[in-house]
Symmetry: C5
Subunit: 306 residues, 5 copies
């Protein structure tokens, strides 16, 4: 798929106009929103942090995916807005694709081997690494509500300050996690996702990655437990709680039903999301299938210029 | 409500005269006390840290409040002394209001998801961020009596030193919290609030945010348990324990009875407080109601020039 | 009481002669020992860290004492060698007394709300703060024997290094504390106080604040448990263990019997102490009583020129 | 055995060509891959960190091995690619061999005295030490899956950044370890080794030291538990998961059966490994035996020019 | 006893020749080995860290020893190679002896009040303090095998780096300690001391202080449990495990039987030790007795020029 160089939105000030942005951050966000991918103020990001977060097991359904070159090829041929991965992968695989696909350098990460009761995600790279590698944004995970949230939030604050210094946009993986989250109905609930959206706004993210909220259960706190609203309204509520932070929804586990995948994209965009960050739902398919699905996502996003 | 540019007190040296202040701190405190809000040496601050501290649930009673623009509008139209919020909100929403309302940049914060037995509030921003954003003070929470008080106090000490360096006033949210506080009668007792007031004085705050003390209970330590004094005297006692630190009382949960809200303001001002920091009691009302209530608080404060 | 400007000792080299001192430290110690207070090589220091360490409850027996101005007035009118308090009090109350009374800036402190099993005292201010405020010494608490002694001692080491850098004398509150101390007979025993005295010498204090040792009990370790010696000998033993570190004895809780208070002063001075640091036993009395008692302590110290 | 100065591979760009390398790193990797040892793009490294990791007990089977001079002699006479050891050994024993054998300075390490449930390996030396000592790479252990993985990974990230700064290759000892690993079938399983290989790639290692995977057991997670594939395929799988990170397999405990040792070397090289890091299997033999076995390993590696 | 200025060994390159030493370190080690004490490449060091490590109780058997001047007098009159003590004692007592006795500044230390299950020894002073005080080496304790060994080893690594920077020799108190050591037969066993010797070599010490190994017991791990060798061989084994690190054996508790003390010195020197570090066995005797015993140790060391 050819990279779209023409802007599809009337003006780049669409999404960016409401924000007072440092020059470097404006340049880099413009590149993500209007210089690559749908190039109309929406975002389609291909993430590849699963090898670290879940282990190589995630590649078993489609073995070629274990080679990061596969994802780089998909990201460039599919015309994604950016590829999001860690420093080891960027340094070893980006060379051949340099300049062709923006990089969101994921700074922190962890294995899923110890349990998540006290989840914490350590930094493996710095904003300075991102600058050195020519990245257009950094990605950072915060485990919202973890017993170690003080370390998580303090560190996120430091990363944000480094981002200010270098004019680097901050993409926050705002993930409810930990013992207290489990006790309150789990990480997927509207309660948890809605709080996570606000946390992203409060800590100063530019873009936030969230999950589609699931139904409430008995352990979810009030007023969420008693809340009755259509699912679409819940998705919209989460987007609204993020305020001027652009929302990307995560793809989660692979779904073989492509129609369902596309329906979710439509749901998110109608709810006001800026885009999607789908990994396994893309790169666990053969390249041609993945490119075809990517094109269909492109078509949806094309109808939601921001 | 028009911003009062005339000073209502005879002299700005009213509140500030007893203190040896670095030049920058004097300039900024003057702006808060005599340049905005009642402008007579009293303070009326609008806080918006509840989205992080309690989650979006706090906005449910009045949904427009989820958009920080609402609070900025109320703060400017209502002629507040300052708006107090975190770095994410300041960066994304203050642009349109720059210069019209002083900013108290709240540096630390946390979610209420893990329980408060070992409460600790991590810094999300620095005094340097506050300088960069043009703030006139920083806000900082200390959990008095928490098992992790050593981290809390040490960090507060570092923030105070940065404040000295930049001439930045320090507003301390001095909040009793943690397992040992619960065992001694809870965070609201006179014992706890009186101690919190003194802690603010000891660590070098310029302004302290406290809660109106509640009645003693059987678990409160002596001599507070046996103390018999009118409620007004208890409020005055807390103000006196803060010494030359200016005291703001918190509004707490929304009270639909406006007369009761105003009676509390009178109680605080008669007890020697410098002002109030009411959030939910203001921005959980429709804008016109909130502005009307704000005007009535203004009228009370106007009678207490310092 | 008029400040004695004449030195009462034959030579200031009395106490200071045995020590190789950096110039700044010599200047500041001279000011404490021969420039103020008894001015004969002894010390009478008025401490005011109880508001933080114990809370405002300590001021209940004599309510005017809650206003730090009261202690400043007593310290200057009573001709004390120095007043010892924290950064918040120094910054807000010292202005009117600047130059009239030397300041020992107490750098660390904590509330007594969490229990002391793992006591640790965090720094609220730095040696640089002390320099900025014109202090003649810094005060620092070390909880000897606490399970967190590694943090305590490491931090004390850093403070001592900063003291070297600025020529600032170090007054150590050497306080046995924590679970292991309780198991070994408590913080007041000769065993505990004797060890605390040596720790002060080992870590490089210039002056140490200790408590008068209490009688041994069954849980005290050998050889202290079996030791039989007159109480005077025990006090002398503690002073001797501190070596060339000058010893101040603490006053502890208020004793209404003034004769007993004065007898203790005599006991300490006869045992070789450099002086006393009495707080509640002074400022919990009406000003005239406190000044009268102060004069009588002066008279005792006048007989022990060092 | 004479050091081979001729390159046996057609071009040094064999192994290095796919990577975008900083100049210094390219120089140093070239020296390891083509300047010493087999000099054909493969690696034969002699490690000596067992004295710290296991204690002197490891030398009991062959007492002369307790003297590090023995390993230096073997490494130089045997024509190894490098010797890998810590800062104490390098400083005290390398003098006589300087320039004759590249050094991989092992930066971190620990004793095996406390159990490994919460394994963590502290740094004893820095990348700057490695530069000062003329090392051609640094070695660093990460305990994958340890409850303290956040400290482990964060620290590895810092070391990698220092490596970038100095153009120093990073050899990662990627070792599954800790309570959660034990609960999931132990450190030797394909599950654990495969994950460890990917972690090395993700954190930015240049070379990784792994162990030959053992058979699955009932506690190993899916999909590994149900996986049925020839052992050779499992070894190849691990190499593939490491991507462009060069894989060295560890020797582990001494095996008296030399044929079996050599069969393992063949297995690894056929599976795509870059080489081996055999310690006890070499230096627990008399020098002549060790040199003879080394020659036979050389012969195998000579057939796998990269 | 006159200080021997003549070197008794043929050449100072005796002990130092095998090592590649930075200039400053060579100068300082020469001063210790050939400039003072036996001055023949052996060492006789007088330690005084017991006041901190064990408390003043250690001085009870010979009360004058509580005054550090006593040890300084013994060290200079007895012609010791160095006196080893902490920063507080050095600063307050060394003035009168400056230049007459080399100083080993002991950087870290702790009280024995909390139990040793998780032993850790915090730094009270820095290598820079040692430089400032004119020391010829620093002393540093590492608790080998402690659950907190990561802190211990990391910190020792930092101290070593500072030593490199300033050309300062590092004397390591390599002490097995902690819960896991107790479970494996205790701190005195050959297993523990042998491991401690190797750790000193691995971390880069120049000199190590060890204890004479005791007999094995049932809890000691293999192969040590089954090891049968003469006691002399065990002492020699420990010395050999330390490699090119010079070994000093500790004196431990006072032994009234002087012949037994001297026999131990002979045992150590015959086993290859560089010398002894005897404290209580020296300074718990009246000065004349201590000097006489010192002379007899001198005579033994004179027969072991290195």
């Amino acid at each position: 798929m050819k990279r779209k160089s023409q802007r599809e939105s009337g003006s780049p000030s669409g999404t960016l106009s409401a924000l007072s942005l440092a020059h470097g951050k404006r340049v880099r966000l413009w590149r993500l929103l209007y210089g690559h991918g749908p190039a109309n103020g929406t975002l389609m990001v291909l993430p590849l942090d699963q090898g670290l977060e879940h282990g190589p097991a995630d590649f078993f359904p489609h073995p070629p995916a274990v080679d990061p070159d596969y994802q780089f090829r998909l990201a460039t041929e599919g015309g994604y807005s950016a590829i999001a991965l860690g420093v080891g992968l960027a340094e070893k695989y980006m060379g051949a694709y340099a300049g062709r696909i923006p990089l969101v350098l994921k700074l922190n990460g962890k294995t899923n081997i110890p349990d998540d009761a006290e989840a914490v995600s350590p930094a493996l790279a710095s904003v300075e690494d991102a600058v050195r590698l020519g990245a257009d944004a950094v990605g950072y995970t915060v485990y919202v509500g973890s017993p170690r949230q003080d370390d998580e939030l303090r560190e996120a604050g430091r990363v944000r300050q480094e981002c200010e210094r270098f004019g680097m946009p901050l993409v926050l993986w705002s993930y409810p996690r930990g013992r207290a989250i489990d006790e309150r109905g789990g990480k997927g609930s509207l309660y948890a996702q809605d709080y996570a959206a606000r946390v992203a706004l409060e800590v100063g993210a530019d873009i936030v990655k969230l999950h589609e909220p699931t139904k409430a259960n008995a352990r979810v706190p009030e007023p969420y437990r008693s809340l009755r609203e259509p699912h679409e309204a819940s998705v919209r509520r989460v987007v609204r709680s993020a305020g001027r932070v652009m929302v990307l929804f995560s793809g989660g586990e692979k779904d073989d039903d492509e129609a369902r995948v596309l329906a979710r994209v439509r749901l998110y965009m109608n709810a006001g999301a800026t885009g999607v960050m789908f990994g396994r739902n893309m790169w666990l398919r053969p390249l041609d299938d993945a490119l075809a699905l990517t094109r269909r996502v492109h078509n949806i996003l094309a109808r939601h210029a921001r």
